[in-house]
Assembly symmetry: C2
Homo-oligomer: 314 residues x 2
């Protein structure tokens, strides 16, 4: 028995066919049709599912469910995307549109961070925990919360936004309109911005040398790699980053006292180089001086697809 999970991002759309043990047996990726009408988007994903199924020799009507996750707010009852700014989706009917093409299959819709949290809870880093938080750290910061062993979608069903807790109210302006949200100080974008500034200010730095003549682009990974290699400018950026991230973790943990906090997204691939100093700082700063676990998320880029495919099982 197979399910479809679709992870819709502002850059890519990923479609995965997922088996009963929550393994992705087929994975296809296409570009998100930026600036195109919504009907074009629907046509593309319908086609994507059909072609992928043909290749696998699965009858579309045999899928148990189709799950779709989007980076935005959704209305469960109506099956609509309320707002997904990166997709320029505002009050679009997702389930209804899909149902006209797949009449016999249940279609589910979820926020992408919630889908990832669900996947991590069932088959990833949050398995077995009752109270847990996932931060997914990329261009921005999303995340999800597990309470009582279940996905918590906020007290009024609007979702949860751990990336928009404020940790520096005089800090950088956030897309949400506030200053110093966790997203502004702990996202990959913060590392990139610091890296770009370092190129201008410190031509002796490794960040400058690696990117000179555009050999490499400034990424969060590049800054962290330079720090790993002992570059002082990059180290300084990295330790400021780890400190800010520790404040984000502590602030959230002082409120919820979770058993575990998982970090996903590109940043989490920095491994123990990141997690070891982070754990030390968190232990020092936490109100409850207990070493709750801080771990990398496990499903990486597949979390959204797996979580979306899971929606019909819950």
């Amino acid at each position: 028995m197979f399910r479809i999970g679709l992870d819709i991002g502002g850059t890519n759309i990923v479609s995965g066919v997922v088996d009963n043990s929550n393994k992705i047996i087929s994975r296809r990726q296409i570009l998100f049709p930026k600036g195109q009408p919504y009907s074009v988007f629907i046509g593309l994903i319908v086609n994507l599912i059909k072609e992928q199924s043909k290749e696998l020799r699965i009858q579309v009507s045999d899928y148990k469910s189709i799950g779709i996750c989007v980076p935005g707010s959704i209305n469960r009852e109506k099956g609509t995307v309320i707002n997904a700014y990166n997709l320029e989706f505002h009050n679009v009917p997702m389930i209804e549109a899909m149902k006209t093409h797949f009449t016999d299959i249940p279609v589910f819709l979820e926020n992408d961070a919630n889908a990832a949290t669900l996947a991590e809870l069932n088959v990833g880093a949050l398995r077995g925990y009752k109270t847990a938080v996932l931060f997914t750290i990329g261009t921005g910061i999303g995340g999800g919360i597990i309470l009582g062993g279940k996905l918590f979608n906020g007290g009024m069903d609007h979702g949860v936004e751990p990336g928009h807790m404020i940790i520096d109210h005089n800090g950088p302006l956030c897309t949400c309109g506030n200053r110093g949200c966790i997203e502004t100080l702990c996202s990959g974008s913060w590392l990139i911005k610091q890296g770009q500034e370092a190129i201008v200010k410190y031509p002796q730095s490794r960040i400058y040398r690696k990117t000179q003549g555009n050999r490499e682009q400034v990424t969060g990974k590049l800054v962290i790699d330079c720090a790993k290699e002992g570059d002082e400018v990059a180290e300084d950026i990295f330790y400021r980053y780890v400190n800010q991230l520790s404040l984000a973790v502590v602030s959230c943990a002082n409120l919820l006292d979770p058993e575990v906090i998982a970090l996903g997204g590109g940043i989490s691939k920095a491994g123990e180089f990141l997690f070891q100093p982070l754990r030390k700082l968190v232990r020092e700063k936490s109100f409850f001086r207990f070493p709750y676990k801080i771990v990398p998320a496990e499903l990486e880029n597949d979390a959204g697809v797996i979580g979306a495919a899971m929606l019909g099982m819950i």
Copy 2:
């Protein structure tokens, strides 16, 4: 049928005899025996209960339960206070000590903010809500969380500390060791400190005039009263305060999306003068642009006593 609720504070100990409808029928207050041995403290509260009962002509053995709440962390299993800094209690046996004097009555122990939250949930401002947060704003800031209609004591049973979410990581040093916790920027102490500075800097201000010759002490209430009366210096302090408080509310609400946030403690008595601008700011700043309720707590100083007396009923 009556229950005893004891609210132990760093300044006062309050003992209340509470009836079946959660009304306090008798209330006694004594000073906390600062710097005295623990046995003196126990002797004092045992005596307090006995005298109060004699006056009411209630046999001590007739009480349904004795509930005690303290400003600190507790170990439910052992019935001990782990740390209550203001009381200088560190790993003291509370339930055992009480049991030697009241052999036939169940004795319960809880953190004071949790007790207050429980009281507000059952007979106060949080009645009927499933997801709610209480901030109790005094010298410091404590608070409690309701999830799924029940008191949430943290995912690892250490409690919750909404006052120690960080909103300004370059802000004032907090007793917990971090900077810019909600407690440092939204407590009564912040208002007092600003008021005291205003006296030195602005001798034309109403705060100065009211306190000259020590006619009145600088309190949070005095600063707010001066703002109500149109004093510009006090208004400036007050609006900075409301702004900081709005960030605290928003930060917490962006994570939990609660139905209601209640504010207790002395500050909440400022009424609509505080709540109206606060609600406006929160609406502007919240990620979910929904007007979740922001209300004053209802039980005021009695919340701890009523909540402590309730412990046996849960």
